[in-house]
């Protein structure tokens, strides 16, 4: 079985470095491993891919992607910015805080960090520059704050984890709220400290009347989060159905209420959503073949035995896992990293020695891989942030550093204090 693991790793890394699409890299390295194991690789990979993409639990993915696109084009971002501005612009580093909060809300609503960076960054980075903020700092704020949307529900990456690990989507959604807010809080702390140090000026308090006005304007957008979360908790529909309701509601907002999207734009939006879905889901399908061969060859057990030999201290093992994931996250996008490492690490952490709840582990993994979204060389949030801010990765790296520290700090808290993740799902009775 060590030969099989070797074949899997070496061919995977070689094809990855040769810029073969990741989904096909996963499929073809599994193909070689299945071939070596003596099975029929043509049939097995095709079968696993078909079975892997057709799982009913993955159904929310196309829907949250579609509703994210509808929101992005539907004029929801500018309304959220106005609201956040009227409430917190008078703090030191006010605009940076506005940026963070809006990214959090928009990321939360759309479930896409990249959508948050492009929609919010497009408005906020030029505006912050006008007010005398350093552009690279603004890009750093936007890119990191946007990742919180993956921890605050709804979130596609949580759905992928739920399907990969067998926990419920509802439990994941509830578990992510506090860690998501925690990361946001750590980022805002960095903003305030930087603002005080660099003397970024605060805005003026606009008065409660203006706040009420901008709240009224953003109300219909904010209602979406109430509908999705409230609908699930209130027992009107399940998480899967909530995603379809989110599509219907964002369609209503974008096409009928705000009228920013025309009916004739819909085919193009459907196509865009379909493509984005397929990019994520082809990786899911391919990783299903990888997971089959890993399981049949008992590789997860092998790795967990190895890790337990290294140390029998849960704190150290979790640290090793976190460092591994941070390294993986620098080079790999979130979805493939999560798909590949969940079946490997989950048996380790849920063993009696560590006894971590699978929901808690999922939150830790996502919080960890969120950091990777902002690190070079592969970081989609960082790329999009530099794109909308018209700056370069090397220039953003320095202002990014304190934000990394803040995110790592939040990650450690999330890792070692289970209550942050587990308290909400437990009181709601979702962890049975």
């Amino acid at each position: 079985m060590i030969e099989i693991l070797l074949i899997l790793i070496v061919s995977f890394v070689a094809m990855l470095l040769l810029n073969v699409p990741i989904a096909i890299t996963i499929a073809m390295s599994s193909f070689l491993a299945i071939l070596a194991a003596g099975l029929d690789p043509n049939y097995q990979v095709a079968f696993d891919m078909a079975d892997g993409v057709g799982r009913i639990g993955l159904l929310p993915i196309p829907f949250f992607i579609l509703s994210g696109i509808l929101m992005g084009r539907g004029g929801i971002a500018s309304r959220l910015i106005d609201l956040a501005k009227s409430i917190i612009a008078w703090f030191p580093g006010g605009l940076a805080l506005v940026n963070t909060v809006t990214c959090m809300i928009f990321g939360a609503l759309s479930g896409s960090a990249v959508a948050a960076v492009s929609s919010i960054g497009g408005f906020m980075v030029p505006e912050m520059e006008k007010e005398g903020y350093d552009k690279d700092f603004s890009v750093a704020v936007t890119s990191t704050a946007a990742t919180t949307g993956l921890l605050i529900p709804p979130s596609n990456i949580m759905i992928i984890y739920a399907v990969a690990s067998g926990v419920t989507v509802e439990a994941m959604f509830m578990a992510g709220i506090i860690p998501g807010l925690l990361v946001g809080l750590c980022i805002m702390t960095v903003c305030i400290i930087t603002a005080l140090k660099k003397g970024y000026k605060a805005g003026e308090f606009v008065g409660f009347k203006t706040i009420a006005q901008s709240f009224r304007k953003a109300f219909m957008s904010l209602l979406l989060i109430v509908i999705v979360i409230g609908g699930i908790l209130g027992g009107i529909f399940t998480a899967t159905e909530a995603s379809a309701v989110a599509v219907a509601y964002s369609f209503f907002l974008a096409v009928i209420f705000y009228k920013n999207v025309k009916l004739k734009d819909l085919p193009e939006i459907f196509l865009q959503a379909g493509k984005t879905t397929s990019i994520v889901m082809l990786m899911i399908g391919a990783s299903s073949a990888m997971s089959t061969i890993l399981t049949l060859e008992n590789i997860p057990q092998m790795i967990s035995q190895f890790l337990m030999q290294v140390s029998d201290n849960p704190i150290i093992i979790l640290l090793i896992i976190n460092i591994t994931l941070l390294l993986v996250g620098t080079f790999m996008d979130m979805t493939p990293a999560l798909l590949i490492f969940t079946p490997i690490f989950l048996p380790v952490v849920s063993s009696d020695l560590i006894g971590m709840h699978p929901v808690h582990f999922g939150i830790m993994m996502i919080a960890n891989l969120c950091i990777g979204l902002c690190t070079p060389p592969v970081g989609s949030c960082l790329f999009v942030g530099c794109g909308v801010g018209k700056t370069s990765i090397s220039k953003v790296s320095k202002p990014m550093l304190p934000f990394f520290l803040a995110m790592v700090f939040a990650l450690l808290l999330t890792t070692y204090i289970p209550a942050f993740s587990m308290w909400l799902p437990e009181i709601l009775g979702l962890t049975n």
Binding site: N19, P21, F47, K275
Partner: protein, 163 residues
Amino acid sequence: MTSTLLKLKSQLVKLLNALVIITMGLLVLDVLWGVLSRYLLGGQSSWTDELAQVLLTCLVLFASGVAYGKNEHLGLDYFVGKMDSSTQIKIKCLGNLIVLIFSIFVLIIGGINLVINTYEMQQVMQALQIQKAYVYSVIPISGFFFLIFSIESFFEKECVKND
């Protein structure tokens, strides 16, 4: 040769685009109907879930063809990006070759085997009462699209000499 391929590709892309848009639309309607039927008819139809599963499989396989045709699948271009342009072209051609192998062996041969096998075993989807083999047939179909697009890409990147 190249112009024929390009024409073929643009026709196929149009067809695939239409398929993706229709499947996506049907998927939204199907799941919304599942929620509505529960509240309006007092009981959910059993076929909505199974149909959604079928549509999701079709959507992913068709749309991933579109995304490949547009070169939109995620890859790690960092290291290749640092190389000189002539090496970059060679590597792109190799990547194309791997996609070609993937489409022939996994999607087309593996997919056809899967369809034949499932057809012989007469596996039926319970709620829809259709043969599962029909659902699996989207794999070799999408394999055909991947194959054409990767061949076209060979000529486009001048991995093969044009005549």
